[in-house]
């Protein structure tokens, strides 16, 4: 196989649940740091014909998934370092297949020079999954196996700057979670007290995990990487017992006990 496709994404917060943007702009430009999932294309040949053929074949099974997708080219699997013209040919073939090359990965010889010549950035080495991802649909997140493990109990106040993480199980906190504190679990997060900091459940892509708290004042809630920041807390949730759960891509919040 001449082309290897793989996906990588950041564990905790890879996409915001609510994409409404603040409409008031004071300056012409806002510069922010974000994290995105990126498709990596590792090539074993620079022959544009072969590349185009293979890509077209793969994409045909899920055209929408790949349409104008940003990809990063990994040249490390090539037998010898390619020259600028060859890489231009590759980028062109990838473009004709409908995808846009926006960077080169580090780790291959001469990549800096190529980056300069082609005017595309070098992106840091990915921690990519090594098996190829089935192209037909996005990868299915595996719910974490937390059968049998009792919940991690935490009975002291979680102070600002402290972080509590329950690996492979639920977390139960029976005290306050202060502003600036973080409580996380691979399973559910239960807080029998005020939540003023951040709560992150389903830390390893368990989309069925939930967050429960007695008194809702959270700064941020995340489930399986889908997060929402609370600049202001909606009046119907503030200070009340609230649970959060994931419905597809949407993070829902509701009063517990009606």
């Amino acid at each position: 196989m001449a082309v290897l496709l793989s996906d990588n994404s950041n564990m905790m917060m890879n996409k915001p649940a609510d994409t409404s943007r603040d409409a008031s702009h004071e300056s012409a430009i806002d510069i922010r740091f974000g994290q995105v999932g990126l498709v990596q294309v590792r090539i074993r040949t620079t022959d544009p014909g072969v590349i185009l053929d293979e890509l077209t074949g793969r994409i045909a099974t899920a055209p929408r998934f790949f349409e104008r997708t940003a990809v990063c080219l990994d040249l490390s699997a090539l037998e010898k370092s390619p020259d600028v013209a060859e890489v231009r040919g590759v980028i062109d073939a990838v473009k004709r297949a409908g995808m846009l090359s926006i960077g080169l990965t580090t780790g291959s010889l001469g990549v800096e020079a190529l980056s300069g010549a082609l005017q595309i950035p070098v992106l840091s080495h990915f921690r990519a999954h090594n098996q190829s991802v089935p192209v037909v649909q996005p990868p299915v997140p595996q719910p974490v196996e937390s059968a049998g493990l009792p919940a991690l109990m935490h009975h002291q106040t979680v102070r600002s700057g402290q972080r509590v993480y329950a690996r492979n199980r639920d977390l139960v906190v029976t005290a306050v979670v202060s502003a600036g504190a973080e409580v996380m679990a691979d399973g559910c997060v239960h807080i029998y007290g005020p939540l003023r900091g951040r709560a992150m459940a389903g830390a390893r892509e368990d989309t069925t995990a939930r967050v429960f708290c007695h008194e809702f004042h959270a700064e941020l809630v995340s489930i399986a990487g889908v997060f929402r920041v609370f600049e202001t807390i909606p009046a119907d949730l503030a200070g009340k017992p609230v649970q959060a759960w994931l419905d597809g891509d949407k993070l829902n919040f509701g009063r517990i006990g009606g």
Binding site: Q156, T157, V158, R159, S160, G161, Q162, A175, S178, A181
Partner: protein, 270 residues
């Protein structure tokens, strides 16, 4: 049994040194043998507040490095016989401190029969603050009724509960007390300032004292006389109450309500 008390806060400028000076004097006034140590290496000011800045020959770092004995470095207070000050070095910085060195000094103070050792912590959460709190038995966390101070104190409380010798050895942990300083009942009444209850709710601790905002504190620093020794000042009385509570007495909080103006004062102003 020597008790080591750290006065810390996280946030700078909230009144740690003022508090260390006043608490030490308050305890010494009741006959206790007290040593107060400045851990803010490089930015020393305990000696200024205590009024002994021109008598510093040897400092804390000198003792740790063995340049002199502890007795040579301790400065006896001129007003209170059982009070001693160990100043910080001004020419070095916090890297000159070592955990071993601090432990040896504290052990020696215990051997000398001191009842209380007050450790005046620098602001922040780095080495100086860490070493000031590490060997403590009790902590007085100084808080201003103001959001950043409260947030920083929360952080410090977290560190007290986890990064101290007592926490690591499971010896029951460091006993934590909150001291609210620069409190203005008038501003609390108008809703501008956080109240004692607001702070208690966020930090989850009872206060050991509330010290009102007072112009006497500036005068005290300028003259090198800790404010608790100024009998006419409200701040002095509040600190004295705090000392009593530290020693186990239970007293009602003063200076938390707006002073009620009498009929004539309201009619004729003043």
């Amino acid at each position: 049994m020597t008790e080591i008390i750290v006065v810390t806060s996280g946030k700078g400028g909230v009144g740690k040194t003022t508090t260390s000076a006043s608490l030490s004097c308050g305890l010494a006034r009741r006959g206790k043998k007290v040593a107060v140590i400045d851990f803010d290496i490089g930015l020393r000011n305990l000696d200024l507040i205590m009024g002994c800045e021109r008598r510093v020959v040897y400092d804390f770092v000198n003792v740790i490095q063995g340049d002199c004995t502890l007795k040579q470095a301790l400065i006896k207070d001129k007003r209170l016989e059982t009070l001693y000050v160990l100043a910080a070095s001004q020419t070095r910085d916090k890297d000159a401190l070592s955990s071993d060195g601090v432990r040896r000094v504290l052990d020696e103070l215990a051997a000398e029969g001191f009842d209380y050792v007050i450790c005046d912590s620098p602001a922040g959460i780095e080495k100086g603050a860490h070493l000031a709190m590490y060997f403590a038995d009790r902590a007085v966390v100084v808080v201003n009724p103001e959001v950043s101070s409260v947030r920083d104190s929360d952080r410090i409380l977290g560190l007290l509960a986890s990064k101290t010798q007592r926490a690591e050895q499971g010896n029951g942990g460091v006993k934590e007390h909150l001291l609210l300083t620069r409190y203005s009942p008038k501003r609390v009444a108008t809703g501008e300032m956080m109240s004692v209850n607001d702070v208690k709710e966020i930090l989850g601790l009872d206060v050991i004292g509330v010290v009102p905002e007072s112009t006497d504190v500036l005068s005290a620093s300028n003259s090198g006389v800790p404010v608790i020794l100024n009998e006419a000042s409200d701040a002095s009385r509040a600190y004295d109450d705090a000392v009593s509570r530290l020693l186990g007495e239970s007293l009602p909080l003063r200076f938390v309500d707006e002073p009620k103006r009498g009929f004539f004062a309201r009619m004729f102003g003043g």
